[in-house]
């Protein structure tokens, strides 16, 4: 099934987005027990040239040093933190400095060559947290309720098409344009029809997962100059299969539902908050309103700050 949730605060100020998303996803826990994740925007406040990396590494002697050695050939390492995860893995989180954004993806590729490590993501304006297990445990492991931001999206996963691991947990990120993330409930049935033209443009795929395909599709549209709402409308036209997709950008969130409306999506808003989720119970965690809108088949909704 999978559960999706997103929240954005209209005053553009930082709020307890981590706490809000944790509550929203805990309410949707029944929709997927395998993994969960968060993309929390607007709270990192990194210098313009800096990026946060999250790197999964096996708990083996010297592996962390190998990662640091590779990284230090490119950049100084700041604010490093080692987070103990499950299944004998840790997540190494640090900050690096790059001369330009285009250096980020090659660096990630380079790091991924090292055995027993995998870069979960690299970002500038948002914080990615995703791991195996229940929302409550992941939130505690990464201290998510203390994370602040202006907006964010989250996901709890019922795995159907690819493995249960940190990389395949949502959100997915694309590097075609900076800091685009997607969470998704559903299946894309014309996967290769979407992927082929993107690969012909030179965009690279790391997996056969349909959510990765969607995030590259959305990032490509945004890179071309489409506004978020327009890119979501294009997705409704181009993507086949049952889906509700929720997109995060540095200044907004938005949802698109498939033309037959086969996956759920509801939204509500007031003067302060705009929120989207799979089910109403999740909205009640951030909004005190009885007016809940059902996202119609083929409909898109978004909010940007």
């Amino acid at each position: 099934m999978c559960g999706i949730a997103g929240v954005i605060y209209k005053d553009k100020k930082t709020h307890n987005v981590g706490e809000s998303l944790t509550a929203m996803l805990e309410s949707l826990q029944h929709r997927g027990p395998d993994s969960a994740g968060f993309a929390i925007y607007g709270g990192l406040n990194l210098p313009e040239t800096n990026y946060q990396l999250n790197i999964e590494l096996k708990n083996k002697p010297q592996l962390l040093n190998q990662v640091k050695t590779t990284l230090s050939q490119i950049s100084p390492i700041y604010n490093e933190e080692l987070i103990e995860s499950v299944d004998n893995y840790n997540v190494f989180r640090c900050e690096i400095k790059l001369e330009k954004y285009s250096m980020l993806k090659p660096l990630i590729r380079n790091l991924d060559q090292i055995d027993d490590i995998r870069v979960i993501n690299g970002s500038h304006s948002f914080e990615m947290i995703k791991d195996i297990g229940k929302v409550k445990d992941i939130a505690k492991r990464y201290n998510v309720p203390k994370r602040v931001g202006t907006h964010g999206i989250g996901h709890t996963r019922f795995a159907t098409e690819s493995g249960i691991d940190r990389y395949h947990a949502h959100p997915y990120q694309s590097y075609i344009t900076p800091d685009i993330t997607v969470v998704h409930n559903g299946q894309i049935t014309n996967y290769w029809k979407i992927r082929d033209p993107l690969e012909r443009k030179g965009h690279t795929f790391e997996s056969l997962n349909d959510t990765e395909c969607i995030v590259h599709y959305m990032a490509d549209k945004l890179f071309q100059g489409y506004k978020l709402e327009e890119a979501l409308e294009e997705a409704v036209k181009d993507l086949d299969g049952p889906f509700s997709i929720l997109v995060g950008t540095p200044n907004g969130i938005g949802i698109a539902k498939d033309k037959l409306g086969l996956r759920p999506g509801v939204m509500a808003e007031n003067d302060d908050v705009f929120a989207i989720a799979s089910e109403e119970m999740s909205l009640q965690d951030v909004l005190d309103t009885d007016y809940v809108e059902q996202i119609a088949p083929g409909e898109t909704r978004s909010y940007t700050i």
Binding site: S27, H30, L260, G261, P264, V266, E279, E280, M281, Q284, D290, Y291, V292, E293, Q294, A296, P297
Partner: protein, 225 residues
């Protein structure tokens, strides 16, 4: 009237439904507080008990009931009243997709808007939507009556085999095997009776404006035409 309050805070679905069934046989009215949009509330409850849900319900509220009168004070998720045989499910707010899915009897009322596929595969009973109803309203309908006071969107009555859909507002498009005509005087009398019973106040002119969607053929149209 003997009333009993069940505070659903912290209860899982099975625990809540066990409590509802246990008390439904001893009391005339149950009030569920803090329902927190839980799914499957009052699933399979039988008898003449009244159940007020003081908040929103999640998916499948009142599924397979036979007799109870359930009132949801806020909203309902997908498939409100699914497969019920007797009784009432009244939603004071809006409902998600598939309200009244597959009902055999009884009445489902949504005072606000409903999502897609309202009344799909319903075989009997009555579904009333006070607001608008979405895509494929009355999909594969096999019986009963579905009344929409607002507008319906695309493919109304898609593959309808039996039963009747009445629409007061606009119909964006009809589905396969659906035909639409003006309601008759008998239809309007029937509509007035049932809508008045559930508190909908319409003028006499409104009743004359109801359109009636039924099937062109009695044969299933699955596979296309």
């Amino acid at each position: 009237m003997r009333k009993y309050v069940i505070d659903a805070t912290g209860m899982d679905e099975k625990e809540l439904n066990r409590s509802i069934k246990e008390h439904a046989v001893k009391y005339d009215k149950l009030i569920i507080t803090n329902p927190q949009s839980k799914h499957n509330i009052a699933a399979g409850v039988t008898g003449d008990v009244e159940i007020d849900i003081d908040g929103s319900a999640g998916y499948f509220v009142g599924t397979m009931i036979d007799g109870p009168k359930i009132r949801i004070l806020h909203n309902a998720g997908w498939f409100a009243g699914d497969n019920m045989t007797k009784g009432e499910v009244i939603v004071e707010g809006g409902a998600g997709d598939g309200a009244g899915q597959g009902i055999y009897g009884g009445t489902v009322v949504v005072k606000g808007n409903a999502g897609s596929r309202t009344g799909e595969i319903m075989k009997g009973g009555t579904v009333i939507i006070g607001g608008n109803s979405g895509f494929m309203t009355g999909l594969l309908m096999m019986g009963g009556r579905l009344i929409v006071l607002g507008n319906v969107t695309d493919d109304a009555g898609e593959s309808i085999m039996r039963g009747t859909i009445f629409v007061l507002g606009e119909v964006k498009s009809l589905g396969k095997n659906a035909k639409m005509e003006q309601s008759t005087l008998d239809d309007q009398e029937e509509l007035k009776e049932v809508l008045t019973k559930y508190g909908f106040e319409l003028t006499d002119i409104d009743y004359t404006n109801f359109k009636k969607i039924t099937n062109k053929s009695h044969k299933s149209v699955l596979g296309g035409d």
